[in-house]
Subunit: 328 residues, 2 copies
DNA sequence: GTGAAAGCGCTAACAC
DNA sequence: GTGTTAGCGCTTTCAC
C-alpha cells in the first residue's frame, strides 16, 4: 500500500480514513504520499470490514417514466450529498423482476433500499429484508401490512379534487383510464374517485373503469374501450402520465375534441400538458420532493434513527387549465 | 457459514459459486442447506478477491432528461441480462461534478464505466481511467483525442437533413436554439447546420445561434433572444429536447404561430411532439438502441475483447410533420 | 500517537 | 471430488 512509502499501515489507514488518532506530521506525510501515488481507497475492502458500502439501492417500475426519473433525481441529489451512490434497478412493473432486483441489490450489500413496489398486496420479499437490518423505505406506493417508512402522495385526495372538478362541469359519468389496482397508488386514486362520486350521490359504474398496462399503448387501448362505448362517457380521468399521453392520442384518433366532446383531467403533471391545445387540467404531484423526502428518511435511518416507521403523505395540487370546458 | 451444516467450506463455495468440481451429492446438500438458512452470497467479499463487483457505473448529465433516461434503460436492460447492476450518477452537465462522480464510481470498483461527458475537450479525468484497466465507453458524446469506445448518433448528418428540410421551404435565415458547444454532440449538430447552409451557398450568421443551458428555461431564453430581434428569423432549429419545449413555449408567449410565423425543426423525438398542434418535425434518434449498443460494447470488453477502440454512429431519421409549412 | 496482528467472507491454488 | 491454506485491502482492538 501507498502508505509504506512513509509510515506504517495502520497510521496511513487512519490518516486516509480520517478516524482514530494520528499525529499532524504523519498525517501530512501520508496524505502527500497518497497524492503522489494517486492512491484510491478500495471501497470494496473497506465495505467488507466496515459493513457499509455507501450505496443505496433503488427499484422502480421504469426509470424511463418521467415520474420515476424525477423522483430518482431528487433521491440521488439528497443521498449523494452524504457520499452515497445510487444503485439502480428496473422492475418493469413485474413482481418477479422486482424480487430478482431486490435480491441482486441485497447481494451487493446496499446500505439502504428504496422500492416503489409493484404490488400493494404481495410484500413477502420485502418482509425478508427486515432481518437484513438495513433500512427500507417505500416510495410512492405502500404495501398492506408492511410496517416500514413510506413516502407517498395524497392519491385519494388528489383524485377526489379531480373528480369534484369534473362534477362541477356537470359530468356524472366519468370514465377512468387506469393501470392495475394492485399498484397501491392506483388503488388509492380509484378509491378517491369512487368516494367523490358517492359523496355527490352518484353510484360508481365499474364499467367506466378501463384498465391497461402503465404504458402509452396501455392508455391508448384503455381509452379506446371507453370511447367506443355507445354511451361514451363525456369525461375522462387518466391515472398516470404515460397513459395520459395514450388517451390524448386516442381521443384525437377518434376525431373527438377536448373539452367539447370529452373533458379530461390527468393525474401527474408533465411538461407537455401545458403545450398541447387545450392545455390539460392536471393533479400535480411534488415529484422531486417525493424523492428528496425519501432520501431524507433513509438518511435518518442510516444515522441510527430507530423510531417507529413513518408514513408521509405529500400534498397534490389541482392545476386548472382548459381541458374540462369553458373556464377550466 | 451455512456450508458447515453439511460439508467443507471450499466445497460449499464451489457449489454456490458454480465453479470447480463438485460431486452431485454434495452439491445438493449444500444447495439445500443454503436454501434453509436463507443464505445470501456476500458480493462484497466475493468482489474483494475476484476483482469484479458486477456493477457498471453510469454518469449522465441528468437522469431526468428523457434522452438519458431512455438510454439508461436500454443500457440497464442489456447489462442486467448478464448479471450486472447499474450504478448511477448525475453530473448535472458540470465538469467538476462529473469528475467527482467518476471518482466515486472508481472507488466503488465498478467493472466498467459509461460516461456521457460534459466536455468534448477536457478528458484528463477520463484518461486516468486507462490505468484502471477497466473498460470505458463514451455514450452519445466523444472527447477529442481520447481513443476509447464510443457510441454516438449521426449528429452532423441529422442536423444537415433538418436544415435542408427548412431550406426547401425557402428559409435562408435559420435561428438555432443551442446549448454549450463544448458538448460534443452539440458541436457536431452545429457543424452540420453550417455545412448545410454553406452547401446551399449561404454564409452562416453567428448571430443566429443562441446559446443557453440545456434546460427548458435555457431553451426559452435562447429562443426569446432570437424572437426579439428586429429581423426575427422565420425558422428555428432546436438542438435538444428540453430546449425544444422551452422554445415552443416562447413562440407561444410571443403570440407567434407555428409554422406561419416561425417554422420549427427539433433535434430529438419526444412523445409530446406529436401531441401538440401542429405536430413538430423532428430529427429522431434511436435512443434506446444507443443505450443497448453501449451495453453491448461494454459487455464485449468485459468478456475480454481487446481490439482497437470502436466509434459507432447510429443513424438519425427526419420525421416530417407539420411545423415547417404546408405539407411538412 | 503509532505499530502488530487479527479478521471481514469469500476465491484460488494446491495437496490429497 | 474435496479439504487446507493463503490471501484480497482494508479497519480495528490492543499493546507499546
Amino acid at each position: 500500500m501507498a502508505a509504506r512509502a512513509e509510515v506504517s499501515q495502520a497510521t496511513a489507514a487512519r490518516a486516509l480514513g480520517g478516524y482514530g488518532y494520528v499525529g499532524a506530521a504523519s498525517r501530512r506525510a501520508v496524505l502527500d504520499a497518497a497524492q503522489e501515488l494517486g492512491y484510491r481507497p478500495n471501497n470494496v475492502a473497506r465495505a467488507l470490514v466496515s459493513g457499509s458500502t455507501r450505496t443505496i439501492g433503488l427499484v422502480v417500475g421504469d426509470i424511463e417514466n418521467p415520474f420515476f426519473a424525477a423522483a430518482a433525481r431528487g433521491l440521488a441529489d439528497v443521498v449523494e450529498e452524504e457520499g452515497y451512490t445510487l444503485l439502480l434497478a428496473n422492475s418493469d412493473e413485474d413482481l418477479e423482476r422486482e424480487r430478482r432486483a431486490i435480491d441482486v441489490l441485497r447481494t451487493q450489500l446496499v446500505d439502504g433500499l428504496v422500492v416503489a413496489p409493484v404490488s400493494g398486496n404481495d410484500g413477502d420479499h420485502l418482509r425478508v429484508l427486515e432481518s437484513d437490518n438495513r433500512p427500507l423505505v417505500l416510495m410512492d406506493r405502500a404495501i398492506r401490512g408492511l410496517q416500514v417508512d413510506a413516502v407517498m402522495v395524497d392519491n385519494a385526495g388528489g383524485a377526489r379534487t379531480a373528480i369534484e372538478h369534473l362534477l362541477k362541469f356537470g359530468h356524472d359519468r366519468i370514465g377512468v383510464v387506469s393501470d392495475a389496482d394492485e399498484i397501491s397508488s392506483t388503488a388509492e386514486r380509484l378509491r378517491g374517485y369512487r368516494k367523490a362520486l358517492r359523496d355527490a350521490g352518484i353510484e360508481p359504474d365499474p364499467g367506466l373503469v378501463s384498465v391497461g398496462p402503465s404504458t402509452r399503448a396501455g392508455g391508448y387501448d384503455a381509452a379506446r374501450v371507453l370511447l367506443e362505448r355507445p354511451d361514451r362517457p363525456r369525461a375522462l380521468f387518466t391515472l398516470n402520465n404515460f397513459m395520459t399521453a395514450g388517451a390524448v392520442r386516442a381521443i384525437r384518433d377518434f376525431g373527438l375534441r377536448i373539452p367539447d366532446d370529452v373533458a379530461l383531467v390527468a393525474f401527474d403533471e408533465l411538461e407537455w400538458t401545458t403545450l398541447v391545445d387545450p392545455p390539460i387540467t392536471v393533479v400535480a404531484q411534488p415529484v422531486a420532493e417525493l424523492g428528496r423526502a425519501v432520501g431524507a428518511r433513509l438518511l435518518a435511518r442510516l444515522r441510527g434513527d430507530d423510531s417507529t416507521p413513518k408514513r408521509t403523505r405529500l400534498r397534490t395540487e389541482l392545476i386548472v387549465r382548459s381541458s374540462c370546458g369553458p373556464g377550466g
